[in-house]
């Protein structure tokens, strides 16, 4: 027991003596664990969103659209089909036929659907407005996420559509010129969320091409109004259709049901059936996109966090070597020494893991709430035991790695050697020294800084490469999205792109934040390590600006190859995430890439110059006499 107490006291004393480095290490590991827990939480949420919605809204097994338009189908590439407009009696007959089909155990509706143009401010969008009653339906009752259900002159918008519009409860809109107020926002499992609502094999929507092109968008939104409002919104150009929800005895056979029914019957107008699995698939397309952004992003962040930790651990390793020597000199066995080091790193790792998990759990809703028709998403990301275990394991692995090197040394190296090697003497790099002689003072000093610790320069290059890879991937995303969407027209965004963008913004911010931390840590660590030789060089006559410039040069020399390498890597990464070549990837314009590389280098230069300048202005004597 006393042994454990001793270890505890040694650890506490050491952490208190070097708080700055301990804090930095904590920050870096926490960043890594936060990212990891965030990724895991989001992965959990986005993997089964549709099931949540379906359960919460009592979604139908089959959704049927009955009736249909006079005009052309909006599917590009198909020959325009002229459907006859079914009469209400015909529609009712069809409904009855469906309700009584074998395997059907329940139904909801039929509900009238009007095709209208919704305008909010200067934005306009085609909308299918379903007429509903006040009482909750047994099947397919959309779940409200804000506001209240339909009322006269009150409209409820589908959630993703509402986001695209930027609408919230209480906003005023017009439907075909008639004034409505947004009463609420809801999600449903009966159709894929905006803008995939009308994608085949889902519903066939009834807007004609001229209307759509005049609005500038082919994406159609879903909304609910009262039955009376829906009927009153019908017009000669856009007569009412109906929506019928079916519940099957065997939900798994929904797709079979649709195929069989279509083979046996011919639906009138532009009617069609869709099974819930097809809706799920469409819904899933959105989620796949998210994951394709999230996964590589999380990897990049993880790598960068590891790089920061490696720099810190590398720095601590050389101090720890001298501490090992001291401990041994006072009689500690190698085993005890290893335990002390391990305990210290484990403490840091555990704290970092806990903070990271908490931060990830808190941050996840911020990312998922602007979500698709995901019910229960806010607050849904929870800390499962598996997630917590994985995060803790990662943190502990880092702790072990940080202990491994000095621990092995403790066992192998004799005490005298360990004590004598208080400062790890830099190896001589004759070639670099020879080259640096011929250069002006700042370059001379900078090159020699690199020569002292070339491995750190490599590590810097690697972290910069990771950062620039992330930045370039984001730029490529933007370039591709711009090319795909064409010029922004209706003002309504594509929520797929929108949400990807939001996540990318968060990831980019995190990436840049970590990169900044990394640059500061590296610069600070380098400045601290070269303090004595910098002071000596100043005593020999180097001006402070020459030393700062030298340090900046050293960092830039390490940064440039990393930044340049990051460009093709970033484009490649995005191409990989973008369906692995299935979809076209647009290479960002050259000046964007140049700006990214130059911007990174400028940032590194600035972040290095600050600690370098501060150190270069200290009085020399105290540093030299302390050394």
């Amino acid at each position: 027991m006393s042994r454990a107490l001793l270890i505890g006291r040694l650890v506490a004393r050491d952490l208190r003596r070097r708080p700055a480095q301990a804090v930095l290490m904590l920050l870096a590991i926490t960043a890594a664990t936060t990212v990891l827990s965030l990724a895991l939480a989001l992965h959990g949420v986005t993997s089964q969103p549709y099931q949540h919605t379906r359960a919460a809204t009592r979604g139908p097994d089959v959704a049927a659209q009955l009736g249909g338009p006079v005009g052309m189908g909006h599917i590009p590439g198909h020959a325009p089909q002229n459907f006859g407009v079914p009469s209400p009696r015909q529609i009712q007959a069809e409904a009855r036929s469906l309700i009584s089909a074998p395997g059907v155990t329940g139904h909801g509706g039929p509900y009238p659907v009007a095709s209208v143009i919704l305008r909010m401010g200067h934005l306009g969008a085609p909308v299918e407005a379903e007429g509903r009653g006040q009482a909750p339906a047994a099947l397919d009752q959309p779940d409200l996420t804000a506001g209240s259900w339909v009322r006269p002159d009150g409209i409820v918008l589908e959630r993703t559509f509402a986001e695209a519009l930027g609408a919230s409860v209480g906003d005023r809109v017009t439907l075909d010129g008639r004034a409505y107020t947004v009463a609420g926002i809801a999600v449903t499992a009966a159709s894929a969320p905006y803008p995939n609502m009308c994608f085949p094999p889902g519903g066939n929507c009834e807007f004609d091409l001229p209307t759509l092109s005049s609005l500038g968008s082919a994406n159609i939104g879903l909304a609910w109004v009262t039955e009376a409002d829906a009927r009153s919104l019908a017009s000669a150009a856009a007569p009412l259709a109906d929506v019928l929800d079916l519940k099957l005895k065997n939900p798994a056979s929904a797709q079979r049901f649709v195929i069989d029914y279509n083979a046996a019957h011919h639906l009138l107008g532009s009617g069609g059936l869709v099974a819930w699995q097809s809706i799920a698939y469409n819904d899933g397309l959105l989620v796949q996109d998210e994951q394709q952004v999230l996964t590589p992003g999380a990897w990049l962040l993880g790598l960068l966090a590891l790089a920061s930790v490696a720099v810190l651990v590398g720095g601590r390793t050389s101090e720890q070597a001298s501490r090992v020597g001291l401990l041994k000199a006072v009689g500690a066995t190698p085993a005890l020494v290893a335990r002390v080091l391990l305990a210290e790193n484990v403490v840091l790792a555990v704290v970092a893991a806990a903070v990271g998990l908490l931060a990830g759990w808190l941050a996840a809703p911020l990312i998922t709430s602007p979500g698709a028709g995901l019910v229960g998403a806010p607050g849904a990301p929870s800390i499962t035991a598996a997630n917590a275990g994985l995060v803790a394991a990662v943190a502990l692995v880092v702790a072990l790695a940080a202990t491994l090197v000095p621990g092995i040394r403790a066992a192998r190296v004799s005490t005298v050697t360990a004590l004598a090697e208080q400062v790890r003497l830099p190896r001589r790099r004759a070639a670099l020294i020879r080259i640096s002689r011929r250069l002006p003072a700042p370059l001379l000093l900078g090159l020699r800084v690199i020569a002292r610790r070339p491995r750190r320069a490599l590590l810097t290059a690697a972290s910069i490469a990771v950062t620039v890879t992330g930045l370039v991937a984001v730029l490529a995303f933007h370039a591709t999205a711009d090319a795909r969407l064409g010029p922004a027209t209706s003002g309504l965004g594509d929520p797929v792109v929108d949400r990807d963008e939001q996540m990318l913004v968060v990831l980019t911010v995190a990436l840049v934040g970590l990169a900044v931390l990394n640059a500061i840590v590296t610069a600070w660590a380098t400045v601290l390590e070269t303090r004595r030789s910098s002071a000596l060089t100043r005593a020999l006559g180097a001006a402070p600006w020459q030393l700062s410039a030298g340090m900046v040069v050293a960092q830039l020399l390490a940064t440039l190859p990393g930044a340049v390498l990051g460009v093709p890597l970033g484009i490649g990464l995005f191409a990989l995430a973008n369906g692995g070549g299935a979809r076209t990837t647009t290479v960002p314009p050259v000046w964007w890439l140049v700006a990214a590389v130059l911007g990174t280098m400028l940032a590194v230069a600035g972040l290095t110059a600050i600690p370098a300048r501060i150190d270069a202005r200290r009085p020399i004597a105290p540093v030299l006499t302390a050394a």
Partner: protein, 248 residues
């Protein structure tokens, strides 16, 4: 007055350096006046902690005085910016440290040529000068040795050579033989004698009487202030035989 100022290579008036505040205030240097004419060797002796090293750091621009004025070759230096001070250290002052303070990863000749390179001389000229100096200190066979391959005395000789790289007007030596045995001390002594003969202005801080004895003038310091100032040249001690009882 102006004559003395012109003749003085190094001059200080009312020099003060203090650390801490209130209860923990320490006056390392307490109102010191110094005058070092060109070509003179001045030794400053005193017990540890008397402030002699601090005084030297102040004179060499390695630290800023809390109060007082310093003139180097007629130019006021205590209020220069760090940048100008660095130029001064490069061209006018050579510093020799007790702990040698050589760059561990550079060879002897690379260490010596560094100040010249920093001063902007061509690599070839700097290397030539460094080789000459290495010769003068008697280490030409060790040009390519790293400090870890040199003995203490050899390292200090490299340090002295480095201090001379840019032909400074003043050489300041802080306990140059503090870490050396008597054999190495003798080597350093010889070097200082030679420098003195060549007319170099030299200020040496030491607690070794042997080093102090090579000086023209000796100042004793205690608790941050000067307590004695003696000329050592002029008037010898009488016959040496008396030292060993060989007379009478």
């Amino acid at each position: 007055m102006s004559e003395t100022m012109n003749q003085s290579m190094l001059r200080a008036r009312g020099l003060c350096k203090q650390y801490g505040r209130d209860a923990s205030l320490v006056r390392a240097v307490d109102g010191v006046d110094v005058d070092v004419p060109a070509g003179e060797t001045l030794a400053v002796m005193g017990p540890s902690g008397c402030g002699k090293s601090t005084l030297l750091h102040l004179l060499g621009g390695l630290d800023r005085p809390s109060a007082g004025e310093i003139w180097l070759d007629g130019q006021r230096i205590d209020q220069l910016s760090e940048r100008r001070m660095a130029t001064l250290r490069r061209d006018a002052v050579g510093f020799v440290f007790q702990a040698f303070h050589l760059m561990d990863e550079l060879t002897a000749v690379e260490n010596i040529e560094l100040p010249a390179l920093l001063a902007g001389r061509s690599p070839r000229a700097a290397r030539r000068r460094a080789s000459e100096l290495l010769d003068q200190v008697g280490l030409s066979g060790r040009a390519r040795h790293l400090p870890s391959q040199l003995s203490g005395g050899q390292r200090q000789r490299v340090g002295i050579a480095r201090a001379l790289a840019n032909a400074p007007r003043v050489v300041l030596a802080d306990e140059p033989t503090g870490n050396l045995d008597s054999e190495a001390t003798l080597d350093v002594l010889r070097l200082f004698e030679r420098l003195h003969e060549a007319g170099q202005t030299l200020v040496i801080v030491t607690h070794d009487a042997r080093i102090a004895a090579t000086a023209d003038r000796l100042i004793s310091m205690r608790d941050g202030a000067f307590v004695d100032d003696t000329r050592l040249t002029g008037g010898t001690a009488g016959n040496l035989g008396a030292l060993v009882g060989l007379d009478g």
